[in-house]
């Protein structure tokens, strides 16, 4: 492999790669993201490899396993270029037909095409699918085009040209200025202006000149996985962003802090780092610019709080991840006491785009105070589960209904929770809220890292508040009192309510405790942790009242407040539930409607899950 010694050499290499890739080249890409992996996409890939090997024309077809395409609901996904035909839910058994019919025959296979609610005809290409049509996939779109383990693929789409531009056509201060002009705000949660952070770091005094840049890939929010998909699907874009950032602030070493739960992201990142080093894009004298920079990997150990920047720094230093008070901010005193820029994966991935296309261009996207696009992970009770990238300022309704395809099963939309565990639950009346950093905070939620969990009529909001509080209690580092003790006591109260022991005064107590935790905690974990409780109290107060005063759970979730019974009209007496019931609470003659003994029943829900006739009713 060539060690690139100048920007010209990089361009020559790019041209060389392009000449080997005519536009009419047939390419079949199989999505290999973790979502599709769980659908066993590797079997599809293996079948395809075998099929192409057997086929006489198979040698001329390029096959790629790419990163996540976003529409995880319909995995495994396959796209056939140059036409861009989009197949979903592909099984290994479909592969011979795909190769014969579509790859070489140019015909579509109707059953593999996407159809969805509100569509007249099946969609042929990604762009025909409503899920993709409203998106603006500036950062995430390349995932489907490149093989993440191939640096050449990344170069073929213009990769590392922004780096060359920064190193040779811009001074470090120019790069910072460009980022400032773009209005980019951190995508990790707090939305701090990135340019300002870089400027702070660049101007901080570093005694031995050492500075660091860090990529925060700890992504602990349950239900959010865009950072992982970027690292898995396009690691070079993050690396390129980091090198540009390092050049701007004068850092010699970078770290990527990755969750250990993300093995594929780690693997692809390691491969990418090795490739970048071989090509001379990392290491000494990058592209002959005399700029030196290296990246090391640091791995997490399963602690949500380590996503908090000061905790993350301690963790890299080999200490437990307890956050500390800021100031001093990491930009002045960070890793090993040196000025440090710490940004989120998605923030870094935006940097090459801004450097390449310019700050003013980028600043045209989004709203007044929130520029650019944001990737959200749309999960929960939604038809199109997946990752979506949209311009800031789009409304929740557009995301949930136009892109997400609405709620399955006709249960009706109840709430969307944004911002991960410490975000808030927003009700239907706020569906027209434009999504940007400031508007979400006004509504009592946060942008967070971009998780969006959709809830329907079967979701109990008190149970959800309890769930998040439980999560945060477990993830609290334990350093400061309001967060450690306060969340624990809050959980006690919520558990009481969901188990039927709630008292009318509890609501006021929750409110008071929530406000205190929010204002008194040391780090942002505690300062946002009461959001789920406070926002559900604000928007779903009636559900709390139903639990406390009415002694019932309207959504039928809280076990102490519900009962299971069998709808005699539907039960045909198959006896499956009676055989499996752990409490032996179900009795009945064969072929006769069964009954549940309410005294024995523990409402585990097994019978409901087992019943093929939907005869178990929860009330």
């Amino acid at each position: 492999m060539p060690n690139l010694k100048s920007p010209v050499a990089l361009e020559q290499l790019r041209n060389h790669i392009m000449t080997r890739r005519p536009p009419e080249q047939i390419t079949v890409s199989v999505c290999g993201g973790t979502g599709c992996h769980a659908y066993k996409c590797e079997d599809v890939a293996a079948a395809l490899r075998q099929e192409l090997a057997c086929h006489p024309g198979g040698r001329d077809v390029v096959m790629k396993v790419t990163g996540c395409h976003g529409l995880c609901e319909r995995g495994p996904l396959m796209v056939i270029h140059p036409q861009g035909i989009f197949y979903q839910r592909v099984k290994p058994g479909d592969v011979p037909e795909i190769v014969a019919e579509t790859v070489f025959g140019g015909r579509f296979i109707d059953r593999l095409l996407y159809t969805g609610p509100g569509m007249d005809a099946a969609a042929l290409r990604e762009d025909d699918i409503p899920f993709y049509r409203k998106q603006q996939r500036l950062i995430f779109g390349n995932n489907g085009l490149i093989d993440p383990t191939s640096i050449e693929d990344y170069m073929a789409i213009g990769g590392y040209s922004s780096l060359a531009k920064a190193l040779f056509a811009m001074k470090p201060a120019d790069v910072i200025e460009e980022i400032k002009v773009s209005g980019l705000r951190g995508r990790g949660g707090a939305g701090f202006p990135t340019g300002l952070k870089w400027e702070m770091c660049a101007s901080a005094v570093a005694h031995d000149g050492a500075r660091y840049v860090i990529c925060n890939a700890d992504e602990g929010d349950p239900g959010a996985y865009m950072d992982r998909s970027l690292l898995e699907g396009n690691p070079h874009s993050v690396i390129e962003g980091m090198i540009i950032g390092a050049y701007a602030v004068g850092a010699g070493t970078g770290y990527v802090y990755v969750r250990h739960e993300y093995p594929l992201a780690l693997k692809n990142l390691r491969t990418a780092l090795i490739q970048a080093e071989r090509y001379g894009l990392l290491g000494d004298n990058i592209l002959g610019s005399r700029f030196n920079f290296r990246i090391r990997i640091s791995v997490g150990g399963g602690a949500f709080v380590c996503g908090e920047e000061t905790a993350l720094l301690f963790s890299i230093e080999g200490k437990p991840g307890n956050p500390r008070q800021r100031p001093p901010f990491p930009a002045r005193q960070g890793l090993f006491g040196k000025p440090t820029v710490l940004n989120n994966v998605e923030t870094w991935a935006n940097v090459p785009v801004i450097t390449g296309l310019g700050g003013p261009w980028y600043a045209r996207l989004g709203t007044r105070n929130s520029k650019g696009t944001k990737i959200f992970s749309l999960v929960g009770k939604i038809n199109n589960t997946g990752l979506v990238e949209v311009p800031m300022g789009i409304t929740l309704r557009e995301i949930v209904f136009d892109i997400g395809g609405g709620i399955p099963g006709g249960k009706g939309f109840k709430a969307v929770q944004t911002g991960g565990p410490s975000g808030g639950c927003l009700p239907e009346s706020l569906l027209d809220l434009p999504v940007d950093f400031d508007r979400l905070i006004e509504a009592g939620s946060i942008m967070g890292s971009g998780g969006m969990i959709v809830m329907d009529g079967e979701t109990c909001m008190v149970d959800v508040a309890r769930y998040f509080t439980h999560f945060l209690t477990e993830e609290s580092c334990g350093k400061c009192v309001p967060c450690r003790e306060g969340l624990d006591r809050m959980l006690d109260i919520l558990t009481d309510i969901t188990e039927g022991r709630g008292r009318p005064e509890d609501i006021e107590l929750l409110q008071e405790l929530g406000e205190a935790i929010k204002s008194a905690s040391l780090c942002a974990l505690g300062r946002t942790a009461p959001n789920p409780v406070l926002s559900t109290l604000r928007y779903f107060r009636d559900e709390y009242d139903a639990h406390i005063r009415g002694g019932r759970c309207p959504a039928g979730v809280c076990k102490a407040l519900i009962s299971c019974s069998i709808d005699t009209a539907r039960c045909n007496g198959c006896g499956l539930c009676a055989r499996e019931c752990p409490q032996v609470a179900i009795t009945g003659e064969k072929k006769q409607a069964h009954v549940i003994d309410q005294g024995q029943c523990t409402r585990c829900g097994l019978c409901k899950d087992l019943c093929k006739f939907d005869a178990v009713v929860i009330s």
């Binding site: 979502g35 769980a38 995880c72 239900g223 959010a224 996985y225 739960e261 997946g386 899950d609």
Partner: protein, 161 residues
């Protein structure tokens, strides 16, 4: 059981004996021995030049580490938000009932270990159960028994082979 400290030393050396590798080193040690043996932890502290109590603190801070031996096969139930709203608690209860253990515990024969995790990032398939890196999607409590039987059989087969 005696810990093979040479293996530990080799792992530490792979990370240049730099403290920024502490968590990675502990991961590898745990991978090797299925848990963190006390003498290995002492060795890591000594080689990296860190106070022992600090390394111990890190080992107890992170959920991924265990200072006690763990069961051979790990069953992880995803309790992430998306899985929660789709019914993961019922699935977990059912698995607990079948194995007779709580999350964080091992089955008496040390074959299985039950764990909960917060989001595996495959939310489209929730609720998810992962048995030794094999993903099982769209699980509900009714499917648990079959799932466990399948894996128990697979484990037995391996034992016999």
């Amino acid at each position: 059981m005696k810990t093979d400290l040479e293996k530990v030393a080799a792992i530490i050396d792979r990370y240049d004996r730099h403290c920024d590798g502490l968590v990675s080193i502990l991961h590898e040690v745990q991978h090797e021995f299925h848990f963190l043996p006390e003498d290995a932890v002492r060795m890591v502290a000594e080689f990296l030049g860190l106070p022992l109590v600090q390394v111990y603190g890190v080992a107890t801070f992170f959920k991924a580490f265990s200072l006690q031996p763990r069961g051979e096969h790990t069953i992880s139930v995803c309790m992430g938000t998306a899985c929660h709203v789709r019914g993961a608690p019922n699935v977990l209860n059912e698995i607990k009932r079948h194995l007779g253990i709580e999350p964080g515990e091992n089955s008496p024969d040390m074959k299985f270990r039950l764990e909960t995790v917060n989001c595996l990032g495959a939310c489209a398939l929730g609720p998810i159960v992962v048995i030794d890196s094999e993903y099982e999607g769209e699980v509900n409590s009714g499917k648990v028994k079959k799932l466990l039987d399948k894996h128990k059989a697979a484990v037995m087969e391996k034992v016999h082979a």
